[in-house]
């Protein structure tokens, strides 16, 4: 922070606040319409959302557990966008990270490692697997000029079927049923932060990752270069920045962030590898949510933290609405899109009028 805000800063902040207030108001209006359409009472429904997500310790822990992958996934998108790269492959990278974690957990099971060694090793396995999954689109973009948008999307499906295979095939737990593996060893389980209500340490790790990204973007040379490429690739290139090198930094870091989310989901939350790790089909999945959270959070770690928190609350709250009035979880997608489009609208309006 550099001293007091200038007049211009203040005007900018006020405009921003007004934009988001308008967006939130529109999204709430849409929410009210949906609730009415499904025959619920608006007052009861809004109360249910807050009560379910924040009103009890159990609900709060659930919200935190959702906050963790949402934050990491959105960071993985926001970080890429800041450097002009579109990462639509968060789901696949989460799956890759989950596979990495599970592979370490099952592979080193016989060594009887204590958890302070085993858990970080497993998470490292997940981060590396995620980074690898992110490196593929990076390499293809640099080497063959293939858009990372396509490759990340296609790799989502590849990772999904890979998990499908592992969870039904070699690692399957016949007692648990289809598409689920045997539980990972107890010493590979991430310790709990809220032991009674089932909240794991993941959110703290995610916040640390957000702080790391913030530091990298604002205080390091590579962060400066990434921002330069994102703002104006042509100018950056003339300024002597090697864009290929930046791509090969951005994409694996994006993958590593989502991979971390996947590792934490396995180690902390599910404690097994299963299909539907990133959300059941039709319900909001972390990958698609992350894209818009990154936009809503203005591609900045702090904004992303706030937006991810809001949508974690909405996800948990909408789960309970699904049970009580049958509103599908996918409604959260619609709120998200309404907020994004409103923000884009207001900002474009302002841009056009100046």
């Amino acid at each position: 922070m550099k001293g007091a805000w200038s007049e211009e800063d203040r005007r900018h902040a006020a405009a921003l606040a007004a934009t988001y207030a308008a967006a939130a108001a529109l999204a709430l209006l849409a929410a009210a319409l949906f609730i009415l359409a499904f025959g619920g009472s608006i007052r009861v429904a809004f109360a249910t959302v807050l009560q379910a997500s924040l009103g009890t310790w159990g609900g709060f822990a659930q919200t935190l557990n959702k906050f963790c992958p949402l934050l990491l996934g959105s960071l993985a998108v926001a970080f890429g966008m800041r450097g002009g790269h579109f990462n639509i492959g968060v789901d696949g990278q989460i799956y890759a990270g989950a596979i990495g974690m599970a592979a370490v957990a099952f592979g080193l099971e016989g060594l009887n490692l204590p958890w302070p060694v085993f858990v970080p090793l497993g998470i490292l396995g997940g981060v590396l697997a995620g980074a690898f999954w992110g490196l593929i689109p990076g390499v293809l973009r640099v080497r063959y000029r293939v858009s990372e948008i396509f490759v990340t999307v296609m790799l989502n499906f590849v990772a999904l079927y890979l998990v499908d295979y592992l969870a039904n095939g070699p690692w399957n737990d016949p007692l648990a049923g289809d598409a689920i593996t045997v539980p990972i060893p107890k010493s590979a389980v991430l310790p709990q932060m809220l032991p009674k209500s089932g909240g794991h340490m993941g959110p703290l790790i995610a916040l640390a990752a957000a702080a790391g990204i913030y530091f990298m973007m604002s205080r390091t040379i590579i962060g400066y270069e990434i921002r330069a490429v994102g703002d104006n690739p042509t100018a950056a290139r003339f300024g002597g920045i090697n864009i290929n090198r930046i791509t090969l930094v951005i994409m694996p870091v994006c993958g590593a962030l989502s991979g971390l989310a996947g590792a934490i989901e396995v180690s902390g939350f599910h404690q097994t590898l299963l299909l539907g790790l990133t959300g059941p089909t039709g319900a909001p999945n972390y990958g698609a949510m992350s894209i818009l959270i990154a936009v809503i959070g203005r591609r900045h770690p702090l904004g992303v933290i706030l937006a991810a928190a809001v949508f974690a609350i909405l996800m948990v709250g909408s789960d309970s609405l699904q049970r009580s009035i049958g509103l599908p979880g996918s409604a959260v997608f619609v709120f998200q899109a309404i907020i994004v489009l409103t923000v884009l609208y207001v900002e474009a309006r302002r841009q056009l009028s100046t």
Binding site: F86, V146, F150, D164, Y165, S330, F333, I338, L341
Partner: protein
Amino acid sequence: MGFVFDISLLQLTMVMMAPLIIACLGEIIIERSGILNVGIEGIVTVGSVAGFLGTFMMGSPVLGCLTAMMAGGILSLLLAYFAISMRANQIVVGLGIFVLGLGLSPLSYRLAVGVVQSPPQIKTLSGVPVPLLGNIPYVGEVLFRQNILVYLTYFLVAAVAFFLFKTPLGLRLRSCGENPRAADSLGINVTAMRYGACVVGGFFLGLAGAYLPLLITGTFTDNLVNGRGWLALMLVIFGRWMPLWAFLGALLFAYVDAFQFKVSSLPQMAKAVPPQFLLMLPYVFAMLVLVKVASGAEAPRALTRPYDRESRE
């Protein structure tokens, strides 16, 4: 290896090809005008639910297809408004539309159908062999013993190719995607052309969605589209923004898709190769193809660039 050229496999290929190429044609029209529509997966998804519900509730596949086209047109119009009039970043708006479509589809399905024990079904269209042509051995059996929507697909591929490259209007449309300023100076209304392309392209995207329940499943499920929109977006590059090349690409992909479908139903194969690896095939194949194709492909030059009459660039 008689299996590889099996008639029923090739017939299935034509069915799988239809929704891919229809979506691809819509995207080609839109991109040729200079707008990139990344929301295609979401729009096709909305088309699939609209097509299903329209057919289910009004009892007519024709009305189902029209409903889907309307839905696709409306969503595409929304994209057009942001991309053209508001000059917003087309990729960001497109991603917003993508997620909007993902959200709207299960929501409208639930709203219309409610919570039911067994999901409602519509009848998938049955084949109508073309007289004479359908009797040509092999080729005729593959191409002309199909249902009416597949025939419509053949027609639309030819029609869009003709429109883009042989009509004055098509030339004007392409000029808006290549050099909107030059087009404007010749009296072409760039804004109107781009809006028109988006809406007409949206009709195609919606129709492509309707093809899925009508041709393949007979029901609506949340993962019905399953990346086909993204594949179509990729086919545009594969086809270098030309309908006929995209058509060949769609055939190739549909073949891979149909192949994995048929192979996984063979008992002796199911033991040898886990089905999940067969399911991966189209997506892995897509990446390999992109690597081969992308570096030579020339996009319309003004793609993703909003046009501002008053700017002086």
